[in-house]
Every structure is written in C-alpha cells, then in structure tokens.
C-alpha cells in the first residue's frame, strides 16, 4: 500500500475492483462500494445512538436529529403539501443525508489517496460512493421509479397522460384542433425530458464529486506537477488545497441539496394539481 503520488484515478472513470477480486464471486466489490458500506455503517451508528431511546423530552443526540428532520420536513412540506410529504419524505431525507455524508466522506484525508499500484494503474483503497456512477445511477433510478409510482398513485394514469399531452390553457372550438398536434409534440418532448432525468441527475452528481476529487488531488500534487523542489512541493501540498477543501465542502452540500430538490420539484410538478 502506498500514498498516491499522482492525481487519483485520473486515467480511469470507473470505480476500481482490486485485481485479486476481479475473477472471484466478489467481483462486484469495489472501493466505492466499500465506502458506501462504511457510510451505511456510519448512518446506522448515528441513527442508533441518537434514537436508541426516543422520548418526548429529547436527549442531545435525539434533539440534533430531530432538528435536522423537523427543519427538512418543514421545508419539504412547504413545497409538496402534507399528503405527498408523508409519502416522499423518507426518500428525500435519505437522499440528502446519504449524498451529503458520502460527499464529505471523500474529503477525509486518505480517501482517494491511499491505495496500491497494479501495474501502472493506481487503485485507491477508498473512493466516495458518489464519485462512482453506478451509485448515482442507482439513486436516480430508485428516485425516478418512486416518482413514477407516487405520481400514478396520486394523479392516476389518465390524468398523468392528459397532463403530458393535453391542450393547456382552457382552449375550445376549432383552435383546439389546431393546437392538438402541437401539444402532442410538446408531450413527446416532455416524455423525453422525463426519460433523461435519471441520466442528468446521476451525471451531475457524479461529475461534480469526481471532478472535485481530481481537483483536490491535483492541488495536493501541484508542486510535483510543476517539478518544484521536494521541500516546496511538500509545503505547497499542505497550503494550496485548503481553500479547495472549503469549496468542496460547499459543493458536497450543494450537490446533495440539488439532487434532493430536483426530485422534490419533479414530484411537485407531477402531483401539485391533485394536492391543491
């Protein structure tokens, strides 16, 4: 195991499976799955320690978690209304908490920079789950499947199709027949945009986190890239990444927010008529 002297995974876009696992039944086990499992463990530990004994008068841990949940629930309820919030809060809360912890986990020292070489390739031991597109696609898929299920449940298929392809604006008479082909075309565009949503959601998150990781690795190795003397490279590797760490903290939070808010907005757009 070595400390990476190069920007991590700069040549590879995928999460890495160690060579000794590639041909075993553990071929699915990658460094990002390991990190996802660790994040799952951390979440379970936090949840367990904060809600071990739930009381009406809360302790410090329960109070903290309650503040997070209550604040987030209030925000979601303000947009989605009571009925849809009850259905979807679990997913939205999970998305936000999981993406946030995963993103920030990637900023811990050693994540992405400690690993081993397999030939010319450097394989990091740990790599954030959200920097693996399998994870972001999985989250987008679950979100969109549930979005479709809840939309069907709340509006019904007829209203859904009507909303997509129907003529809006309360038109009637001959103009209605003129507008039908136009709105059919708009409906097709709408369907395409819905189908593209999982891709756009997953690419946005993956791209931001993966780029952030590479940027930090580049900043850490900036001295070596410009062939500075070793002592200067070491000093620069400590100083240069500091502002970028703060930037990544912000980006990690914003990306968690963006992913969650987009699902929230999709739900609001497709169910708002029924709620009111």
């Amino acid at each position: 195991m070595v400390f990476s002297p190069l920007p991590i995974a700069s040549a590879e876009l995928s999460a890495e499976t160690p060579e000794f696992l590639t041909h075993s039944f553990l071929a699915w086990f990658t460094n990002s799955i390991l990190v996802t499992a660790i994040v799952l463990g951390v979440i379970m530990w936090i949840v367990r320690s904060c809600t071990r004994k739930i009381e009406v008068i809360p302790g410090a841990g329960q109070n903290f978690l309650e503040a997070v949940v209550e604040g987030f629930y209030g925000a979601v309820e303000g947009i989605l209304g009571d009925k849809m919030t009850r259905k979807s809060f679990g997913l939205l809360g999970t998305l936000f908490i999981f993406i946030l912890i995963s993103n920030w986990f990637g900023l811990l020292p050693g994540v992405g920079s400690i690993g081993w070489h397999e030939g010319d390739k450097f394989i990091p031991l740990l790599r954030p789950g959200t920097a693996d597109m399998n994870m972001t696609i999985a989250m987008a898929t679950v979100s969109m499947v549930l979005w479709f299920y809840w939309t069907m449940q709340v509006t019904g298929p007829v209203a859904f199709i009507k909303e997509l392809f129907g003529v809006k604006g309360g038109m009637s008479g001959p103009i209605l027949f003129l507008l039908v082909p136009l709105f059919l075309f708009v409906g097709v565009l709408e369907v395409v945009s819905i189908l593209v949503r999982p891709v756009s959601l997953s690419l946005r998150l993956y791209g931001n986190i993966f780029a952030g990781e590479n940027m930090l690795a580049t900043m850490i190795n900036i001295g070596q890239i410009f062939h500075f003397p070793n002592w200067l490279s070491s000093v620069l590797s400590c100083i240069v990444p500091i502002p970028f760490y703060f930037l990544e903290l912000l980006i990690g939070f914003l990306q968690a927010m963006v992913f969650t808010l987009l699902i929230l907005v999709y739900l609001q757009l497709s169910t708002a008529h029924e709620e009111h």
């Binding site: 309650e66 679990g90 693996d132």
Partner: protein
Amino acid sequence: MEILKQFGVDWPHFIAQLILFLIVYFVLNRFAFAPLLKVLEERRKRIEEGQLNAEKIKKQLAEAELRYQEILRKANDDAQVMIEELRKTNEAFSQREMEKAVKESAAIVERARHEITSERNRMVDEVRREMVSLVVKTTAQVAGKVLSPEDQKRLSEEASKELAS
C-alpha cells in the same frame, strides 16, 4: 450503453450500489424518520393540548377569582349583620344587667341598713344590761350591805326605767 461502460457502469456494480442505497433508505426510514416524526407529532399534540389546558385553567381561575370575590363580599355582609345583631344583643343584655345590679345593690344596702339597726339595738340592750348590773353593784357597795334578790330586782327595774327615759 457503450458510453455507460466508459463511465464504469455495469450490472453487478449497479445492483450492489442499488441494494446498498435501498438498505440506507430502509434504515433511515424505519429507524430514524418514522419514530422521530411520530414523536414530533406526539409533541405537537401535547403542546396543543397544553395550550388548550392552559386556556381552560386560565378561564377557570378567572371564574374562581370571581366566585371567591363574591363569597368574600357575602361573608363580609353576613359578618356585618352578625356584628350588628351582636351589638344590639349586647346592649340589651348590658341594660338588663345594669338594672339587675342596681336592684341587687339596693337590696344589699337595705339589708346592711337593717343589720346595722338590729346590731345597734342589740348593743344598746347589752350596754343597758351592763349599766343595770353596775348600778346594782355600786349601790350594794355604797349601802354597805348585801342586797336581797328582791332589792336587786327592784334596783334593776328602776335603773332600767331611768336609762330608758
């Protein structure tokens, strides 16, 4: 699909991540959100009940205060009436007692006067008897002889007459 492969997306990894995400979803939903939202709802209800109770108690307190004032006012009035009655009774009683005391004192004075008179009479009688006896004894000594009982009786009667006059 080729582009997805370039990004390292394949079924085994996708399914593994999907399962992990679903586990996170289940854990958070089952062990964090559901119980916390339940307790928040419970607390909201309790606060609502508390506020209602506080309102009720405030109302009851105001009513109790009014009732208390009413009772106090009534008690004051009753006490005033009782004091007045007592004062009147006391005055009547004092008057009666005074009259009785005057009567009693008059009787005592009368009785004392009567006793004084009878005592005075008794003393006068006694002095008179002493005087008679003295006269008889003095006469016997002056006469130088022993007086017979008849003489003594006669002298006594005469002396008594003299003293009485």
